[in-house]
Amino acid sequence: MIFNITRKELKSLFSSPMGWVVLALLQFVFGTFFLNGIEQYFQTMSGAIRPEQRIGVTEFVGANIFGIASFVMLFAVPLLSMRLISDERRQQTLTFLFSAPLSLTEIVVGKFLGLVTFLSIVIFFLAAMMSTLNFWAEIDFGYIAANVIGLWLLVASFSSLGVYVSSLTQQPIVAGIISFIALFALLLLDNFMAGDPTGTMSYLSLMRHFEPFSRGLLDTRDVAYFLLFIVTFLTLTVRRLDADRLRG
């Protein structure tokens, strides 16, 4: 039944112009940065003679494209997550879900998975685009895999926060704006706390935990951080919806 909710969310995204527009725009942005990255690679490498100046094409293009992807998702995820619960609340269609034999956890996880599946399609196309470099160069698939996992965990974290904010209001636009501000702050927390890079607040920055993945490093501490982040916000969403049922 949980996958029925996921399927419905996915279908909703593809039934509205929003899903297609976001998908097209993201592919356009990533495609442009990918082509620019390749062009810049040839320009830079033609001037780099010493071996220590030369870096692989995977790292050169990958750093560019995965870096921009993490930033672009900051805008895309709130746009997609804002209506998940708030719109259902506004249109009073949540009653259909609440009166079905589904637990609140199943409802929340189903919606979350629907959004994450949509975003996984975006990441899949991104990884496929990077893999096309393999036709004319020997690329580092490990580096791409680490970046893909890191980006997936990052957007899943964005989505979990987006779902939670969406459960707080009836207005999708308000949910979108709050999600964006919250994600922006969490992403750049370590920049604000530059004076104390070892502090707790700095440690909470999403970008700080994404950065090792972007270097091709898969650290279980960062994976655990993202998973905890996701579980925390999904749990908060369940609690929020449960409070609705209690208070009426």
Binding site: S15, T95, F98, A100, P101
Partner: protein, 303 residues
Amino acid sequence: MTMTPAIKIEQVTKDFGALKALKGIDLSIEQGEFFALLGPNGAGKSTLINLLAGLLRPSSGKLAVMGYDVVSQYAQARQLLGVVPQELVFDPFFNVREMLRFQAGYFGRGPENDAWVDEVIESLGLTDKAHVNMRRLSGGMKRRALIAQALAHKPPVIVLDEPTAGVDVELRQTMWAFIQRLNREGHTIILTTHYLEEAEVLCSRVAMMKSGQIVALDTTANLLKQIPGKQLRVTMAPGSVLPAGIAALVRHRDGDVYTFTLNDVAQVADVLAELRQSQLTFTDMQLLEADLEDVFVDMVGRA
């Protein structure tokens, strides 16, 4: 062996802050009943339905659907219940068939349920609209789709919360024919409505609520017996002044139309004799039985 009640409500209260929406409701509805839940706005009917559907949690007390507690055994209880909401709510991204299939999917029903979905679509006159987006349906069609949605998983207990509000006569007839058929097939139907004549014709038992309490609970026939005698409606000639002898019998006046409450049919002759003696003329006269509306006004007004 006693049959498990379709709905069992025991000492249920629901508070919204200082407001006590339900004040200790006790109610048992047997399987196969066509039951009406009546009451003025704010009586607590929708709150009670929302508690049954799991949209709210009771402050105290227990509710069970076919013996399953709606809180601790919510999955089984909701599996057996279909609720038609009062508001015209719909998901704007899907057509009627898609919406019904998703709704059945929430209840764990897969493609094997499609035949039933098609039957519901046909029975409610939605065949032509099965592939039309919910947004493009008229109000009446949306109402039909909502009823179909509540029936998508073929629940044995169906709750209809004001299903005919703002609905045309044709749809009402189609809808009631289908609901009556479901009732004959063994489904328990619980209806809330402001159209008391519908409840009187369709329902075998009635509960009347006021201010979060049940003020009357009996069979429709017994409730109708509670209003004694008959009513005489007389349309008088303009400017007529009734003699004091019969003025005391007037229950209701609307312009020149007077409604008298009579304990006995023989009183008709007395009223007419008084009118003749006072040389008053009338243009129309009707002898009426007490209906559920009279009982409702009497019960709710008295409580």
